[in-house]
Symmetry: C2
Subunit: 189 residues, 2 copies
């Protein structure tokens, strides 16, 4: 298949559209939307989010050394988009969106009550890469809505996470179940 070169671009699929929760120096909660994030270690469990230095959340995480990564459900996609459009310096995004900041017992950051899946992190490493700084956090807890659990596990079809597509700049839902891992591949073994 002939391929087109796009050059050095921030383009892959999927990327997330997470709400990053943090407190500022005065204890005001904020959320911002971020797509540059992921899991980066299984033991200790680590996740990261990359942020630009001018962002309000950047200063908050530098101050508090903690953040939450909140997976919103697709019904809240417009709220997620809004939280990436404006700064918490000038807006109380929780109030505008009708979202609830819950103080974590484990890390110095708020999580979003309305998000069916939330991850609570304390900063472990900070790596300045250029335009973005990568905050690697150790995961202290993952919390999931009771209604989104099935057979003792988080159910992706109930969580309905939002997927972001760079370049295209659209958000997408989760699609069809394609099958079980460590199982489908037996066809080739």
């Amino acid at each position: 298949m002939a391929k087109v070169s796009l050059g050095s671009k921030t383009m892959t699929l999927p990327t997330p559209a997470w709400l990053v929760g943090s407190y500022d120096a005065d204890g005001k909660p904020n959320v911002m939307t971020a797509a540059w994030g992921g899991i980066c270690c299984s033991k200790p469990v680590c996740m990261y989010v990359s942020l630009q230095k001018p962002r309000y959340t950047y200063a908050n995480i530098m101050e508090r050394k903690a953040f939450t990564l909140n997976v919103a459900s697709e019904a809240d996609v417009a709220k997620v988009d809004y939280c990436g459009m404006v700064s918490g310096r000038d807006n109380d995004k929780f109030a505008v969106c009708g979202l609830t900041a819950v103080k974590s017992d484990l890390v110095d950051a708020p999580y979003v009550a309305e998000c069916p899946l939330v991850v609570e992190c304390r900063v472990l490493h900070i790596q300045d890469l250029g335009q973005h700084t990568m905050f690697v956090g150790e995961v202290f807890d993952v919390k999931v809505d009771e209604a989104a659990m099935k057979d003792g596990k988080p159910d992706p079809k109930a969580i309905k996470p939002i997927i972001y597509a760079p370049e295209d700049r659209h958000y997408y839902g989760l699609g069809a179940d394609l099958g079980l891992g460590w199982s489908l591949g037996k066809e080739y073994k």
Copy 2:
């Protein structure tokens, strides 16, 4: 909404299911499946993948200081699963899966011809986090199948990326288009 605590787990949504392309010291191409990966900087454009030290690909990337991140299409989900089940030490995964290794002109790693979206990276930083080591690579090119381009941009609905759900351990396709970023959020501005 009442939430259940799962503890410190590698759980979020979405995570990718990428094929990581590399050469070993003898020039033999290999692919392995990885879900701990993402975009981590916009300038220079950087992406990372996290790997465990015993992995064949870990030694390859340490040797060659380059890797590719290949986004397979959902029709190839069984091949993607297989490439996460066995080691390239004992298997020629390209041959078994009927996949084609293409030598990159830009980085010292092969990409997968059959993947509609491929990203070519040279290692910029290596961070040992514990069970996993994070390889941050600078992106030298993103290549997309001509047939998966639409209006000059990669079309996620044509690429049909695979999404992995930790804990649940199922693969999913991309779902419905939920709308355009920096646009839906105007409802709250």
